[in-house]
Amino acid sequence: MQIFEYNGSALVAMVGKNCFAIASDRRLGVQLQTIATDFQRISKIHDRLFLGLSGLATDAQTLYQRLVFRHKLYQLREERDMKPETFASLVSAILYEKRFGPYFCQPVIAGLGDEDKPFICTMDSIGAKELAKDFVVAGTASESLYGACESMFKENMEPEELFETVSQALLASVDRDCLSGWGGHVYVVTPTEVKERILKGRMD
């Protein structure tokens, strides 16, 4: 039994022109049984920073709670929101603290940094950061997502086109993975608004 494939997940984040999109599937399973079809994998840290956690769902929830706690403390002390780059370093440090008994999660972080520059990154379960300029993927469907994103990605896409691209890539990839699916959650974030959309996909 593979621990990273216990619950099943698919996460992708993509960079556009002064905007980014972060998307996930909606299935929560226990090996081959589906438990929930509306599971939220992506959480808002603040208006311009989103965190997606793939892998073991219990670790994802615990990690999310710890990170929200740390961010709230930061907000109290610094009287401002955390920058995405800083948050990524915080996640990396928290994961590495558990180097020899890790959280079985792979986070995807997406945010708008200084001057509204989009920032995306992912890391492995012990905090090795991977900064990318185009897209990052995580979860059981990650190989399929690599293929789909690599072919559909273009630079400097506007929010509407970015939404279409991320949605097509996500749905095509989860359709080839038994452990993820049941639709998608897509967040498209620009400096002025956050649009959350739910995709209808194959329900199997």
Binding site: S144, S151, S173
Partner: protein
């Protein structure tokens, strides 16, 4: 004393990816030419594609020693068929033969992931996809090998085949023109070479249509 496990395996994976796409009157079969073992490259110039009959071509990835043995076996059986029936084997017939050959070694399999492509008796393109022990299916397009998890979702998105369970039965072959299908295959391998370390070097494309078989090559990333 704890039981010792054998740490010698008769199999190896030489990597690589294969793709086949069926059209209304053509079939495109493609594979990269890289042969590797572990993290090393053995050669950049190895063909994974084998012509089994006049209108039937097979591309296989996996363990190339088993692939070579399988190709020899099928070629020998095809020769016998030609002597006995005075004609070439059709693609659907070869597909069944390949399936039976693979299942014959069910308990010591050929480590070979195959796609068979060609024209059926009416001249329409057909693609058959296999697992290592001979389970097969006639489909409109398929990919096998190390890059298949990256390639399949993209092919699904571009060539969406209707379900074989629908009634009335719908055609699985793509309505794309031959040149467009070849372009699609080239795109697909370019994308697989980017993210799969075992796919790259050169792409070999074989196109079967009413005029016969022709071969094309394209350079891929060498890293």
């Amino acid at each position: 004393m704890p039981k010792e496990q054998a740490n010698w395996s008769p199999y190896d994976n030489n990597g690589g990816s294969c793709v086949a796409v069926a059209g209304a009157d053509y079939c495109v079969i493609a594979a990269d030419t890289r042969m590797s073992t572990g993290y090393n490259i053995l050669t950049r110039d190895y063909s994974k594609i084998c012509k089994l009959a006049d209108k039937c071509v097979m591309a296989s990835s996996g363990f190339q020693a088993d692939v070579k043995a399988l190709q020899k076996h099928l070629a020998a059986r095809h020769l016998i068929y030609q002597h006995q029936h005075n004609k070439q084997m059709s693609c659907p017939a070869m597909a069944q033969l390949l399936s039976n050959t693979l299942y014959y070694k069910r308990f010591f399999p050929y480590y070979s992931f195959n796609v068979l492509g060609g024209l059926d008796n009416e001249g329409k393109g057909c693609v058959f996809t296999y697992d290592a022990v001979g389970s097969y299916e006639k489909v409109g397009y398929s990919s096998q090998g190390s890059g298949s998890t990256l390639i399949m979702p993209f092919l699904d998105n571009q060539l969406k085949s209707p379900s074989p369970l629908l009634l009335p039965a719908q055609d699985a072959v793509t309505p794309l023109a031959e040149a467009e299908a070849i372009d699609l295959v080239k795109t697909v391998f370019a994308l697989a070479s980017e993210r799969d370390i075992y796919t790259g070097d050169k792409l070999e494309i074989v196109v079967i249509n009413a005029d016969g078989i022709r071969r094309e090559y394209m350079d891929l990333r060498k890293d």
